[in-house]
Symmetry: C2
Subunit: 336 residues, 2 copies
């Protein structure tokens, strides 16, 4: 049991203006909490860091409530059940849940999903077989609707979402061009993930390079980043192109909203620009899990994890995520 242990928690100390800094977070220690009826005490093994958390640090109105000042930062975790006051869960079991940036969490049983460590490495429940993979699946297939032979461009192509988008698009018979930061990531995207091409957005001449890599134009642009990549993509969109807007990570630290692209091509090319949030698409979970877990087993979808050791390193890792310093799905290993 947890007696004698302390619970470390990373709380939001200050709302960032611009890029988050280490000083926006504080680490506090408290007692390990006790579960009530229908609750479970869980100890985090893996903590998922994802770009959406930047939005939760802000008090701008958005699709989900902000983290209150002084409250524990939100996150999905893969955790081990330590104590259970619910008949559905027993100590030792591994669960996915909204554990947050802390060692221990008391969680309602209804918020947990049991994981089978024999089916897949449990950390994949935070990545390729979890929210990021599901985001890729519904965003590409339901919003992007790629047809065989079409050209799909994916930004943040080596990341948790982009890597899955591109591999699914390849499976669906598309030409797939990634955009990523740096030569190492680009080589990985082509050599390991099998994209047709990948362009380094840090290299000069992105617009020209993208035009060369997409001689038939772009039919689906899976938008993760905004900014310079979006500006390079926009003129290359084909008639009836679809732009699933998953995120705009290049803008997350902006203090003032930046303008978007001129909308004339939305009319002249009959574009569909459509945002989505994965949590609205729960009805597709079964399809996603069936398809993507099979593709992972068959080696048709590969994934890469970028693991940081120690809860106390979560803030710096998260700050790096917004700067593109991670390489693959960013995870914090909380307990070894």
């Amino acid at each position: 049991m947890a007696t004698g242990h302390k619970n470390r928690q990373i709380v939001l100390k200050r709302r960032p203006v611009g890029a988050p800094a280490a000083e926006d977070f504080a680490i506090v220690e408290g007692a390990v909490p006790e579960p009530g009826d229908g609750e479970v005490l869980a100890r985090a093994l893996w903590l998922s860091l994802d770009p959406y958390m930047r939005g939760r640090m802000s008090d701008r109105k958005s699709y989900a409530p902000s983290v209150a000042l002084g409250a524990v930062m939100v996150a999905r975790t893969v955790s081990r059940v330590i104590d259970s006051r619910d008949s559905g869960f027993a100590p030792g079991e591994i669960v996915l849940g909204p554990g947050g940036w802390q060692d221990y969490a008391v969680l309602p049983a209804a918020s947990l999903r049991k994981l089978d460590p024999d089916a897949a490495p449990v950390s994949t429940a935070l990545g390729v077989l979890g929210m990021p993979g599901m985001t890729a699946y519904v965003g590409l297939l339901d919003i992007g609707r790629p047809a065989k032979g079409e050209t799909v461009v994916v930004s943040a192509a080596s990341g948790a979402v982009g890597s899955v988008v591109g591999q699914i698009a390849r499976i669906k018979g598309c030409r797939v061009v990634g955009v990523a930061g740096g030569d190492t990531k680009c080589r990985y995207v082509v050599d390991e993930l099998g994209f047709d091409a990948c362009l380094d957005h840090r290299a000069p001449g992105l617009a020209d390079a993208l035009a060369r890599a997409c001689p038939g134009g772009i039919d689906v642009y899976f938008e993760n980043v905004g900014g310079a990549v979006q500006r390079a993509v926009w003129p290359l969109l084909n008639d009836f192109a679809r732009v699933p807007v998953c995120g705009l990570i290049a803008q997350y630290n902006d203090v003032e909203p930046v303008p978007g692209p001129n909308l004339t091509p939305v009319v002249t090319k009959r574009l569909t620009v459509r945002g989505f949030i994965v949590s609205d698409h729960g009805d597709r979970w079964g399809d996603f899990y069936r398809d993507v877990s099979a593709w992972v087993r068959e080696g048709r979808i590969k994934y890469r994890e970028d693991v940081v050791d120690g809860l106390e390193r979560a803030p710096e890792a998260f700050i790096g995520l917004l700067e593109g310093r991670n390489f693959g799905k960013l995870l914090v290993r909380v307990t070894g």
Copy 2:
């Protein structure tokens, strides 16, 4: 027959930079042409002036070819058949076709649709029962997908398209707020067309007025104009709002493309921003004509025509259209 008559033609003399000027057009006179096999000689009665023509004056690549320098400006006309070398058409019949800005045109029979003057005034084939009405119908119903009780905002609300959009939205049980230029148009939109409210975009405080007129936010924004109206609408869009982008008339004279709205709400509110061109939706013609002609007969859809007399006045009328000087569907009466 046409012997002895001259054919006046308005040709594109110069590509405008910014707003078109009278000097961008020239009027030339020539002989009345002779139809060949399968062709019809038609004399224009009504000439339709529409904002899309601004795009045809430019040599920017777009969804339809540019008018060549020295060529007759394109337009749909309602015309009388003068001579026919096609068994499907006889002199005296009234036809809709791509007659252009000229008195007489030789047109392939396949490009013509016969009109029944007893069914509706023939000028409506250029407005409420023609391309503008069809644009409103497919844009609102197929792209905007309004549900009963939702709030629909329509820009250019007294115009050929906007007026039909708003009236169909009312028929579908929506709260409908128009935006138009000037008090006279706004009063017409509310008093005659039955919109719930209409705001003058020339009056100060549009954003506040729009927020007050849409206390439950905006579910569908039918975008005709861009610019200041778009900026006022954007913050009021509800989650899952749809923005059918029909046109951006406020930008048509821009020399440099202006930026669009920040795309963050596209994600956080899961917006769908989708452009369309009516000619892609020909499969909906039958539904459109059945529904809208019935609604016009029943007095549930009203329309207003702004008639300019004389082909030679088409350039000034068109220039005024881009400035919002027309009031209702703009038509040139070519022959009395």
